[in-house]
C-alpha cells in the first residue's frame, strides 16, 4: 500500500498543482518512480496507490502500471463515497483502513506500507525475509541518523535482536538514533484487525506512527526493526530537493542513477535525443532526452524537453521537464518548475544566496519585473 496522497506543503509552489509523489526528479523521473521501481525490483506484483491531493497528473502517470513492470498490478485508490457519505483520508492508517476491501480481495500474507514521497533504493524482499525470520507481527524499516539530529525523527529503541522496546516521537533526549522510514511490513490479519479497531476509536488520529505502533507495543506484539543503510532522502523541502538533485551529479555520485542491478523505471514520453548547439557548453550535468542546449549548462539537472537559449547560463540549478530558459537569461542556485519560462535576460537566483534557493512553480512565466 503506497501512501501517495500527501501534498508536500513545504515544497510550496512545486506542489501547487501536483501531489508530492508526482514531483519531477532526476531529469526524467517522478518521485513515485522510486518506491514503484523498488516494488517491481522486489517482486511485489500488486500495489495499491492511495491518492488524495491533486491526483490528476499522478493518476495519468500511473496508468495501469506497465511502466514499472506492474502490468495491471496497480490499483489507484482515492477516497470514495459510501451509503453513509464517505470521507477524505484522515491519516495514514485511515487511508489504508478505508481500503481493507482491496487488501482482503488480494488476500496476501503480508502487507507492506510505503511512503510515496521518499527517494530510496531498497529491496523490500530482503525486509520481508527479515520479518519472517523474526516471526514478527510488524517490521519497521529504520535508518541510523546522526545523534545530534535524532530528536527531529520518530525513533525506535530496539534490543540487540532488533526487537523494538520503545517508540519515541521527536524526543528531546533520544535513546536511539534509529529513525523510522515510514515503511512497515504487517501480517495481514493483524493489520486488518488493528485498523478496524483504530477506525472505531474516536480518540485516535489514525496515524501509523502516532497510534497503531504505540498500541501494538503496549499490547506486547513482536515488533522488529529492519536496518537500512543505503541511500534515502525525504526531499520534503526546497533545500533538500535541491541538494538531493545535486547528489546525482559528479563522477562518483552518492546517488547513482546508473546502478545496473536495481533500475529505476519511469513512464516517460518519447523525445528525440538531447541536442547540443554549436556554441553549447555542458559540464557536470544530467540531461534528459528532448532538451535543447544552446547556451551553458553547468553542474545542473536539465530535465526532458527543456531548453537553454543562446547565451543563457544554467548553473547549480534544476530545470524541471519542459522548462525554458530564454536567450541571455541566467538561472543560478534555482529550481525552475515544469513548463515554466525564464524570459530573455532575466537573472533568476543568485550566486551567494547559500541554501536559500530560488524557485518557481509549474507553468509560470518569469519576466523582467519579477
Amino acid at each position: 500500500m503506497l501512501l501517495a496522497g500527501g501534498q508536500g506543503s513545504r515544497l510550496y509552489d512545486l506542489t501547487k498543482d501536483v501531489a508530492k509523489p508526482a514531483v519531477s526528479f532526476g531529469a526524467k523521473y517522478r518521485i513515485i518512480d522510486f518506491p514503484l521501481s523498488n516494488c517491481a525490483n522486489s517482486g511485489i506484483n500488486s500495489v495499491g496507490v492511495l491518492t488524495q491531493y491533486r491526483p490528476y497528473l499522478l493518476h495519468s502517470y500511473l496508468g495501469t502500471g506497465t511502466a514499472w513492470n506492474l502490468e495491471d498490478g496497480i490499483a489507484i485508490l482515492p477516497p470514495y463515497a459510501t451509503q453513509t457519505g464517505g470521507s477524505w483520508y484522515a491519516g495514514t492508517a485511515d487511508a489504508v483502513a478505508q481500503n481493507l476491501e482491496y487488501i482482503e480481495l488480494n488476500d496476501p500474507e503480508y502487507v507492506i506500507i510505503l511512503s510515496g514521497d521518499a527517494l530510496c533504493r531498497m529491496d523490500y524482499h530482503d525486509m520481508l525475509e527479515t520479518h519472517k525470520k523474526n516471526n514478527a507481527d510488524l517490521t519497521i524499516a529504520v535508518m541510523p541518523v546522526p545523534w545530534e539530529d535524532a530528536s527531529r525523527f520518530g525513533l525506535l529503541v530496539a534490543d540487540e535482536t532488533g526487537r523494538i522496546t520503545e517508540f519515541q516521537e521527536k524526543p528531546p533526549e533520544p535513546k536511539s538514533n534509529l529513525a523510522s522510514m515510514g515503511i512497515y511490513i504487517f501480517n495481514t490479519k493483524l493489520l486488518c484487525d488493528e485498523l478496524r479497531l483504530d477506525a472505531a476509536d474516536p480518540e485516535s488520529e489514525h496515524d501509523f506512527g502516532g497510534n497503531i505502533i504505540p498500541k501494538l507495543l503496549n499490547d506486547g506484539r513482536r515488533l522488529y526493526t529492519y536496518k537500512f543503510e543505503g541511500f534515502w532522502r525525504d526531499v520534503g523541502t526546497i533545500a533538500s530537493y535541491h541538494e538531493t538533485s545535486m547528489e546525482l551529479l559528479g563522477e562518483n555520485p552518492s546517488f547513482d542513477l546508473f546502478q545496473k542491478d536495481f533500475p529505476i523505471m519511469s513512464n516517460t514520453h518519447s523525445f528525440p535525443p538531447a541536442y547540443f548547439g554549436p556554441d553549447a557548453t555542458v559540464d557536470d550535468c544530467i540531461v534528459g532526452n528532448g532538451s535543447k542546449i544552446y547556451g551553458d549548462a553547468v553542474h545542473s539537472i536539465v530535465s526532458i524537453d527543456s531548453v537553454i537559449g543562446k547565451g543563457a547560463v544554467v548553473k547549480d540549478s534544476v530545470l524541471l521537464p519542459g522548462a525554458i530558459v530564454k536567450d541571455g537569461a541566467k538561472v543560478i542556485n534555482a529550481i525552475v518548475g515544469e513548463n515554466s519560462v525564464i524570459e530573455e535576460g532575466v537573472v533568476f537566483g543568485s550566486e551567494d544566496a547559500g541554501k536559500d534557493y530560488t524557485f518557481c512553480g509549474n507553468n509560470v512565466v518569469i519576466g523582467k519585473e519579477e
Partner: protein, 363 residues
C-alpha cells in the same frame, strides 16, 4: 478520416555497400540514436488514426520483431485490428529495387480481405519524414485516382530512389534512379482496398515483379496520380544517404518539423538520462539517454548507452548504442555500429566523402 489500414513492406534489400545491413534488415537500421527507420513508417500510419497495420517481414527479422514487439508503443496492441506480422517470401530480398513485391502482397491477401476498410496505405521503411496521411487520403478521394503515390521533387541524384514519369498529372512509368528535379517516389501510396485485391489478381502469373513494374503496360487502364509532399523527406538507401540523413538531425528546424507536431514513437528502453561529466565538451550533436560523456563530442549523433572516456574525441560521426570509446581514441567521419569497444589510443578516421564503417562489435 476515411477508414484506412496500413501495410508496411519491410521485405526488400538495399544496396548498402557496408556491413550495416549484413546483420539487420534496412527497416531496423538505428536512426538518430534511439530510433529505427521503421519508426517513421509506423508512426506516420498511427498518427493519422490507423490502428490496423500489417508488416511484411524480411527473412532476417530478429531485430525488427525485437523492436516492434506486439506494437504497444504504437498503440497497436488491440482487440480489434492492431499489428499483424505477415510472412515475406524467401527470395523477396534478392531483388534490389523492388519494394512492393507482388508475391509478398499476394501471399498476404488474407490481411486485406479480412478488413472492411475503404483504403489501404502501403509504405516501405526507408524514408525519414513525418506526415499527416489524411492529406494524402483527401487528395486521393478528391481526384478519383485508382492509386495516389506520394512524391517529391528530387533534391539530389540518387541511384537508389525510384522516380515516376508523369504526363499531364498522370503516372506513365517508373524508373530506378533519379536526378535533381525528377518526381521521386517516397515509396508510399494509397489506394482502395478492393482495387488492390483486384489488381493483385491480374498479376498472379508474374508475382516476381514489383507492383509498379507490373503496371508498366497498364498506366492507361489504372489511373495513378501523384501527391507532392512539401516537407522534409530523406531517403536512406545507402551508406552516404544514411549518414547524411542522420546529420540532418543536427538542424533543429528539421527535427522540429519531424518530432514536435506528431510524435515519432519507438521502443522505449526507459534508460537513464545522459550524464555529462566535469570537463566534457559536447557541441552540435545529438546524444541519447544513458550515455556518459567525459571526452569531446562534436558534430555527431550518439545512440543509447555510449561511453566517451576522458581524452577521447568523436567528430562528425555516428556512434550506435552500447559503444565505448576508450581514453585517447579518435573517431572522425565514421559510423561505429553497435557494441563496439574502441581501444585506448585507436584512431578510426574516414574522410568526409568516404565515411568509414566499423561493423557491429561484441562489447
Amino acid at each position: 478520416m476515411p477508414k484506412a489500414i496500413g501495410l508496411i513492406t519491410a521485405n526488400y534489400s538495399t544496396k548498402f555497400p557496408s556491413p550495416l545491413t549484413d546483420s539487420r534488415p534496412a527497416a531496423s537500421l538505428p536512426f538518430l540514436g534511439r530510433y529505427r527507420l521503421v519508426d517513421f513508417a509506423l508512426s506516420n500510419m498511427v498518427n493519422c488514426g490507423i490502428r490496423t497495420v500489417g508488416m511484411v517481414m524480411p527473412y532476417n527479422y530478429r531485430s525488427l520483431i525485437d523492436h516492434v514487439g506486439s506494437g504497444r508503443e504504437w498503440e497497436l496492441t488491440r482487440k480489434t485490428g492492431g499489428l499483424f506480422i505477415l510472412p515475406g517470401s524467401a527470395f523477396g530480398t534478392s531483388r534490389t529495387g523492388s519494394r512492393f513485391l507482388l508475391r509478398d502482397l499476394i501471399h498476404n491477401k488474407v490481411f486485406l480481405e479480412r478488413d472492411s476498410a475503404d483504403l489501404v496505405v502501403l509504405s516501405t521503411a526507408n524514408w525519414v519524414y513525418s506526415m499527416d496521411y489524411n492529406k494524402l487520403f483527401e487528395a486521393h478521394l478528391a481526384s478519383g485516382a485508382d492509386i495516389t503515390v506520394l512524391t517529391q521533387a528530387a533534391k539530389d541524384k540518387d541511384v537508389d530512389v525510384a522516380g515516376f514519369e508523369v504526363v499531364d498529372g498522370r503516372v506513365k512509368g517508373i524508373k530506378h534512379g533519379v536526378v535533381f528535379g525528377d518526381t521521386a517516389f517516397l515509396d508510399c501510396f494509397v489506394m482502395g482496398r478492393e482495387k488492390l485485391l483486384e489488381i493483385l489478381d491480374w498479376f498472379a502469373a508474374t508475382d516476381y515483379l514489383d507492383l509498379f513494374e507490373a503496371l508498366a503496360g497498364e498506366y492507361e487502364r489504372v489511373n495513378v496520380q501523384t501527391f507532392d509532399y512539401e516537407g522534409y523527406a530523406a531517403p536512406v538507401f545507402n551508406k552516404d544517404t544514411y549518414f547524411k540523413a542522420n546529420m540532418d538531425m543536427l538542424d533543429t528546424k528539421i527535427t522540429h518539423e519531424l518530432f514536435s507536431e506528431r510524435p515519432v514513437r519507438t521502443k522505449n528502453h526507459d534508460n537513464q538520462p545522459g550524464k555529462y561529466q566535469p570537463g566534457c565538451k559536447v557541441a552540435n550533436s545529438r546524444v541519447s539517454g544513458s550515455s556518459v560523456i567525459y571526452g569531446t563530442v562534436t558534430n555527431s549523433v550518439l545512440g543509447r548507452g555510449v561511453t566517451v572516456e576522458k581524452g577521447a574525441v568523436v567528430n562528425n560521426a555516428i556512434i550506435m548504442q552500447g559503444c565505448t570509446i576508450k581514453s585517447g581514441a579518435v573517431i572522425e567521419n565514421a559510423i561505429i555500429d553497435r557494441n563496439n569497444l574502441v581501444p585506448e589510443g585507436t584512431e578510426l578516421r574516414g574522410a568526409p566523402n568516404a565515411i568509414l564503417v566499423k561493423e557491429k562489435g561484441q562489447a
